[in-house]
């Protein structure tokens, strides 16, 4: 065994935030020409570790060596001087500026007067070498997530980074875009770049990484070479004793004959801002049914959800709720008729931070608790409802009179779930409901959705996670650029006509032609 010394070495990195020990004596070696995956549950300390590497956080203890020499990474600037670059989960770019300007901003050798044409040429050269196609003159907001990511990588390469850190790079990419990204990784590896990336999907990790390091609660649970690692080993390292219980495959109880709860007929919304709008959407959701919506983020999902909730007016077409024409109903009326909303991020889209848990509950339906024509609020009734709703979920919240801000993200989501499901919904609009939840919370939320469906609700489930959609949906539609480009019953590969297979959905999501059936 004659392994060269590592390019980058971390020893005993420790970082704590108030109340959390995010990284506890973490050791990590990164070699030249290595693709190194970091995996772990939410809150395992992956992001913190990456941010330390990039100089965003300063570790409380520990040493970092580059080529055997100790270095200090106190600022992102210092990290960049050491050739360490990072592609963030929320891309830190400037949407209003062009690709050239975004990259120019980052160049260490930028002259006082900017020569856009020269930079564009440099971008093209680097892009061609590694298969990173980007349009230099376009403003960034016009680019897809995949393209923006490629811009970030070009940026780092032009700024002479040798070590590239990527925080969940595959999160909003379609399957074939993921393959493209991994090919780029391979090209970069060939030229000696080191790549460190955070990943959530083990399939992807096993497909492209040379080495996998598993973090659990801030500690390195293990670090395996690709040829040593199996999915089962990684799972047991990530979760310890917890064995992921499989969610039973959804079996629909909807009878085809029943009248739909919600029906959209040729609904169109003009494109607004950066969104694609909606074009000629026809869909129906029946009781006892989960309708999954697949698509790459930004292909009309937000508009679809907003149109159904009444947040966005349908410019053309009609919307029926329980047989009534609800095209022009405002949100309040939709909600009064049993439509509820479960957001991706309850803290941002459903809960009001400064208000107490109880006040947040009352907000779900202020009219219901109003007394004396609105001059008073019946808090006792609200409290009783809250207790009942939480009991049904099997959760308890210590004090409903504290601001909801004081609860953890998972608990906020639970309170909002309790509030929304307590209203005996006829229709649930769930918008990336599992995003950002850890495995345990996500499983609980899935079970709740299934239970609500079995109780007779119709569910619109919007998600990017195909595995999740396939596990839960009774029927599936695929959105691309505001249109429904495919629909059917989700099925394993090679299913019958009228059924959708996973890989096929992946292609539809990205506008590729539906492949001929073999």
């Amino acid at each position: 065994m004659n392994t060269p010394p590592p390019l980058l070495t971390l020893r005993g990195i420790t970082k704590s935030f108030p109340g959390v020990l995010a990284n506890d004596r973490v050791d990590l070696d990164v070699h030249r020409g290595e693709v190194h995956a970091i995996v772990g549950e939410n809150g395992a300390g992956k992001s913190t570790l990456m941010k330390i590497l990039y100089g965003f956080h300063r570790p409380d203890a520990g040493e970092i060596e580059l080529d055997g020499r100790p270095i200090r990474l106190d600022t992102p600037h210092a990290a960049r001087r050491c050739g360490i670059g990072m592609v963030f989960q929320e891309l830190v770019q400037v949407p209003a500026l062009t690709v050239v300007e975004n990259i120019a901003l980052f160049l260490p050798d930028l002259p006082v007067v900017v020569d856009g044409a020269a930079i564009a040429t440099r971008i093209r050269e680097t892009a061609e070498r590694y298969g990173l196609a980007v349009p230099p003159a376009a403003p960034l907001w016009q680019l897809s997530v995949g393209e923006q990511q490629r811009v970030e990588i070009v940026k780092l390469l032009l700024a002479d980074a040798r070590i590239l850190i990527l925080d969940e790079p595959t999160r909003s990419l379609a399957p074939h875009e993921v393959d493209g990204l991994f090919r780029i990784f391979a090209n970069l590896r060939r030229d000696g770049y080191a790549i460190v990336f955070i990943a959530h999907k083990l399939r992807e990790v096993l497909a492209c990484a040379d080495r996998v390091t598993v973090l659990r609660r801030g500690v390195v649970a293990g670090s395996l070479r690709r040829d040593e690692a199996t999915a089962a080993m990684l799972v047991s390292l990530m979760f310890g004793a917890l064995v992921a219980e499989p969610v039973p495959r959804a079996t629909t109880t909807a009878r085809p004959g029943t009248a739909p709860i919600l029906q959209l007929e040729r609904v169109s919304v003009p494109p607004l801002g950066h969104g694609p709008g909606l074009a000629e959407i026809d869909l129906a959701i029946r009781p006892h049914e989960i309708l999954g919506v697949a698509g790459v983020a930004g292909n009309g999902q937000r508009e679809l959800g907003d149109v159904i909730l009444g947040l966005e007016p349908c410019r053309r077409g009609t919307k029926f709720l329980g047989g009534e024409d609800a095209t022009r109903w405002p949100v309040a009326k939709m909600r009064a008729h049993g439509v509820v909303f479960i957001p991706e991020d309850a803290r941002r889209l459903a809960a009001v931070g400064g208000l107490t848990v109880l006040e947040n509950l009352a907000l779900g339906d202020t009219r219901r608790y109003a007394r004396a024509g609105g001059f008073a609020i019946d808090w006792d009734a609200a409290r009783a409802d809250l207790d009942r709703a939480l009991e049904r979920l099997g959760v308890s919240i210590a004090s409903p009179d504290r601001p909801i801000d004081a609860l953890s993200g998972g608990n906020v989501q639970r309170v909002i779930l309790a509030r929304e499901l307590a209203r005996d919904p006829r229709l649930i609009v769930a918008f990336y409901p599992m995003r950002g939840l850890d495995v345990r919370s996500a499983m609980a939320a899935r079970a709740l959705l299934l239970r609500a469906r079995d109780a007779g609700a119709g569910v619109l489930l919007i998600s990017e996670d195909l595995d999740e959609l396939f596990a839960l949906s009774d029927r599936l539609i695929v959105l691309f650029r505001g249109r429904i480009v495919g629909s059917g019953v989700p099925a394993p590969p090679g299913g019958r006509p009228g059924e959708l297979a996973l890989d096929e959905v992946g292609y539809l999501m990205t506008g590729a032609e539906r492949r001929a059936r073999g």
Binding site: P76, H77, R80, F88, V92, Q93, V94, P95, A96, L97, E101, A104, L105, F106, P108, L110, P111, V112, V113, V114, G273
Partner: protein
């Protein structure tokens, strides 16, 4: 008819010039993501300092330099409060306006009614002799002639230089700018100083070239009109040129109609620039949304 057109055109240019400098000042700050409602105060301080310096030195050029410096330094007070202390920009801006109103009144109290020569009018040889257009366009003070180059220069700096790129990046996404190794706070300080200089010059043009005297609160809301003009010009220096001329025209029209004895209350005519601002904003506002520097939106929504 010819003399009317001549004086209307000439008047639009003269009234539009301080508006243009003020608009460019606000435009720069807003491009960097800072709304400065205190521009009114900065202009007043520039106007009074420029005037006092001119009275004492006898040189309007010295007055202009003093006004620019005073405006820049005064705006640094605002910069300290909003950048280093991260106070609310709108409240701090209004406070700066009050401070400027009071400070300029205190400084200028002894100079009310003083006489100065003011900025000299420069005749452009040959062109000034053209009929109608000659006297309207080519007999003005140096600040008027400098207006177009300054606006073009502002465009060049913002869109063609490294510094301009970091200004825009900071205004759009300070986190991204920070990640790219820029220090948003340093950029803010630089921009706000420069904006203060421009605001001071704008005020000085009022006291040294237009009115040639000092009066309390002589800016009469021009600082606020400039804020509206920035939105009107959709954060673009060259469009600001057109906007300033249009609004200068509205002010000039009012003066002309009064001079002609049109039987319309001067107070109703005085409303013109303000109502015009509102109307223009209402028409453009919806469309301008996309051009708003992103971090500015957060100021107006109160999340910053």
């Amino acid at each position: 008819m010819a003399p009317l057109i001549r004086s209307l055109l000439s008047g639009s240019i003269v009234s539009g010039t301080p508006l243009l400098y003020a608009t460019l000042a606000e435009l720069l700050s807003e491009r960097a993501g800072v709304v400065n409602l205190g521009l009114e105060g900065v202009m007043l301080v520039g106007a009074v300092v420029g005037f006092i310096a001119t009275v004492h030195t006898g040189s309007a050029t010295a007055g202009l330099v003093a006004a620019g410096l005073a405006g820049g330094l005064f705006n640094l007070v605002f910069a300290f409060v909003v950048v280093s202390r991260r106070a609310n920009q709108l409240a701090a801006g209004l406070t700066l306006m009050f401070c400027g109103v009071g400070l300029s009144a205190l400084m200028g109290a002894r100079y009310v009614g003083s006489q100065i020569v003011g900025l000299p009018e420069l005749r452009v040889p040959l062109l000034a002799d053209l009929p109608i257009l000659g006297p309207a366009l080519f007999v003005h003070d140096a600040l008027v002639y400098a207006a177009v180059p300054v606006a073009a220069g502002a465009w060049w700096v913002l869109f063609r230089t490294r510094w301009g790129l970091s200004v825009r990046a900071v205004g759009e996404n300070p986190v991204a700018a920070f990640a790219a190794g820029k220090d948003p706070r340093m950029v803010h300080y630089q921009v706000l100083f420069l904006a203060g200089v421009l605001g001071g010059v704008a005020g000085a043009h009022l006291s040294l070239a237009v009115a040639r005297t000092w009066a309390e609160w002589m800016t009469a809301g021009r600082g606020f009109i400039a804020v509206a003009l920035v939105i009107f010009s959709r954060w673009h220096p060259l469009r600001a040129l057109a906007g300033a001329l249009l609004f200068g025209g509205a002010i000039s029209l009012q003066l002309q109609m009064q001079a002609l004895g049109v039987p319309l209350s001067p107070f109703l005519l005085d409303m013109l620039p303000y109502v015009l601002s509102l109307a223009v904003l209402a028409v453009w506002g919806g469309r301008a949304r996309h051009a708003v520097p992103a971090s500015l939106g957060r100021v107006f929504q109160g999340t910053q």
